[in-house]
Amino acid sequence: MSKHILRDLSELTAAGIITEETSGKIKVYYEQKNQQSPNRLVIIFGIFGALLTGLGIILIIAHNWDDLLKGTKLFYSLLPLLMGQLICAYTLIKKADSRLWREAGSVFLLFAISASISMVSQVYNIAGDLSGFLFVWMLLSIPLIYIMQSAMTSLLVICGITWYATSLSYFDYPSEIAWPYWLMLGAVIPFFLRLMKGQRGNFYHFHRWFLALSVIITLGMFNSSDNELMFVAYMSLFSLFVLIGETRPFAEGKILNNAFLVAGSLGSTILLLTFTFEWIWTDIRRDHFVADEAFLISSSVSLLACIFLFYEILKNKSITAINANAYIFLIFILLFMLGRTQPQVAQWLTNVLVLAIALTTTWRGAERDNLLLLNYGLLIMTVLILCRFFDTDLSFVVRGILFMVVGLSFFGANYWLLKKRKLQNV
């Protein structure tokens, strides 16, 4: 962007649009800005370089050279750890200001920690369990984030702890609730908040996505007894995400960078769409509620969402000023309770609710002149209609007409909005 502006400066000055002085100021401004932010590509390649070198060293040692003595094998297993620590120490002493050194050094050390543990396990034929290994690895890596101020390490740690939680809670037998995951996630949050206060670059956006997805993936760990109440927990989580996504620092910038809002809205819609089917209500009716972890977590998340919602209503002094998606969990809880005795009514009402969401989203898109939102609303409607094709006996003619109506509405709504924009620009 700055290059384009700088290229046009002389033309703009010649045309008398800006003065020589302004042109000079603009040049100085961009020069200083460039000095402050190092070349992004260099950092990206630096991180990838460290990542690949680290993985390469692990693979070479993993060959497990039989001809080497045990002591030599151990020496080479621990060498990357020493190298990584030396690189990080050098960075802190000599290159503390270099983002490239901090990021690349700590990424290398992160993998060296893993290499040292797994290679020693290999030398001694220790089978070990994956979740235990991931736990220790992540615990030893968390300090790196803060000491080296490395955003890439923080992202990798979020991935690692998510892997740990899924491994322990979903894949191990007998599975356990990965409580330490929440502590480790909490340990990453202060770093994320610091990123939020800073320049809010790409790493900040990635953090939002990684954090949102990590919590969505791992929340199911509390579902140790196949409790249907987990649906309530997830719905409340999605509404909570929407509320978080709509608060001041998160709501700024591009909508696709607002992970909490996008994940929350998409998640609640997809979950609601699932509840427009009959089978899921039959399942819930069969289920006997027990006061287990799933019950506790669904009540806690719902309570948290309630408090947040109430606070936002008080702050905005209006019920309508808040994103309608934030209310969905309350309606869903009512539907869920109704479904225990009247599953058909609850199913029917869920269909109406999804239709209402589709219409309001389309309407909001039209109102705010937002093509993305408009088409998202139409897409929800299309999916809802598609879902109903599976369990209703509509004739092909009716189905055909419905499709045509939706297709035409896609075309019509987009055309109308683009035309409106054109008229406004004239």
Partner: protein, 189 residues
């Protein structure tokens, strides 16, 4: 570098060294002063897929007919009390839930599944790592030795101290599998 940062950095490095070094120390202790047990391996399932750079061991002493009324659950941590049979191979004396008397020979393990009275056990030493290129040769040698009609016997040498095991070697007819495979590789085909 600020002094407090240096302290934190130092602590971090120490903790990162502590984990692998503690593992080495524990294993070396068991290997140097642990009691040797020879676990006889049993015929392997030929459909067992090639596992990469280690061979998976399957032990004869990995099943225990428990006719007491105790209930064992899959994945449960247990202690296997060990003894020796007339050929000098390890055999299971009993399974217990609580930490046994240190005087008794035992090893920590896990219940893999329960079939009626028969309790199957997973030991924490079922993988034997070899050099990447040689693992498949080793697995072949190990399989041949474990075939039902084979005249060879295969066993794992495991040292155990205070319930902690360390897998030392895998022997086929009292020769280390590492040497056999090395010899195989040295001979021109």
């Amino acid at each position: 570098m600020k002094p407090y940062l240096a302290v934190f950095f130092g602590l971090m490095c120490i903790s990162q060294w502590y984990v692998p070094l503690a593992m080495i120390k524990d294993q070396e202790e068991v290997l140097s002063s642990g009691k040797v047990f020879r676990f006889k391996t049993r015929p392997v399932d030929p459909s067992d897929p090639f596992r990469g750079k280690y061979i998976t061991l399957d032990f004869e002493a990995a099943a225990f007919p428990d006719n007491s009324s105790r209930v064992w659950e899959r994945g449960q941590k247990i202690f296997v009390l060990l003894g020796e049979d007339s050929d000098g191979f390890a055999r299971i004396v009993d399974l217990v839930e609580d930490n046994p008397d240190p005087e008794v020979d035992y090893v920590e393990a896990e219940v893999s599944f329960v079939d009626g009275e028969n309790v199957s056990i997973t030991y924490p030493f079922e993988r034997f790592y070899l050099e990447e290129s040689r693992a498949s040769d080793a697995e072949k040698v190990y399989r041949d030795a474990n075939r039902n009609d084979s005249t060879q016997t295969a066993h794992a040498v495991v040292r155990i101290k205070n319930g902690k095991p360390a897998l030392e070697d895998v022997m086929i007819n009292d020769r280390s599998i590492v040497d056999i495979v090395r010899e195989l590789n040295a001979e021109p085909e």
